[in-house]
């Protein structure tokens, strides 16, 4: 479950867990970065990840696999303060 995190000046980031880091070559070759990634598939494992979060008034870090044993609804949206 979410673990409280110390807040520094750097903007915290998360990332995918258990897979190779995204190739740094992407930065050198933006054309390659445009390659279409395959969509995840139903019936297959959800890729695990760690992400910083804001939860119950605190800054924390959460990992998807901590929720094994529960149903999870993972929602992406384009941005805070947008309209829908």
């Amino acid at each position: 479950m979410p673990k409280e995190q110390k807040v520094g000046c750097a903007r915290p980031t998360g990332g995918v867990v258990g897979e190779a880091a995204p190739p740094e070559a992407n930065q050198a070759a933006p054309a390659a970065a445009k390659e279409v990634r395959p969509m995840v598939q139903v019936g297959k494992k959800a890729p695990d990840f760690v992400a910083p979060c804001y939860y119950e008034g605190k800054f924390a870090s959460v990992q998807l696999s901590e929720y094994l044993g529960k149903w999870v609804i993972l929602c992406f949206y384009p941005g805070d303060f947008t309209f829908v």
Binding site: E19, A33, P78, D80, F81
Partner: protein, 133 residues
């Protein structure tokens, strides 16, 4: 989860969401996806716009994706439909896969039990009107 930082999430709660649902009432972690790294793996990161589009994934207790829906930003989700799908997947899981929920199923409606006897006989168990509420 969006590409906003968790600091922006806090300001959004403080300045807007708290006026919709009350202070401290967001019951789930608001995740930050800097650089769209998680969205990229899930196939919902729009590199041109630099944001995660409106993707919604139902993940079961084994960590398996049972369903997803992805919309372009201007159209919002139907939360009731998401909950209906979770309820349907829970029925299927609770029956260890013996039962299936036909089109239009919602809690209280009949489920199907697939098997040799049901082949060619779904028309007797399920009527077109049942596809609609």
């Amino acid at each position: 989860m969006s590409t906003d930082s968790m600091f922006v999430h806090k300001m959004w709660v403080d300045h807007e969401l708290s006026k919709m649902v009350g202070a401290g009432a967001i019951p789930f972690p608001m995740l930050s996806d800097g650089g769209g790294r998680v969205g990229s793996v899930y196939g919902v990161y729009d590199q041109d716009a630099g944001v995660d589009v409106r993707g919604r994934f139902i993940i079961d207790p084994d960590g398996v994706i049972q369903g997803f829906e992805v919309l372009t930003p201007p159209v919002g989700r139907n939360v009731a439909e998401t909950l209906r799908q979770v309820q349907a997947f829970q029925v299927v899981r609770g029956s260890a896969g013996a039962q299936a929920t036909p089109s239009g199923w919602r809690p209280g409606k009949a489920v199907l039990t697939p098997g040799p006897g049901l082949v060619g006989n779904v028309w007797q168990e399920w009527k077109v009107g049942m596809a609609f509420d």
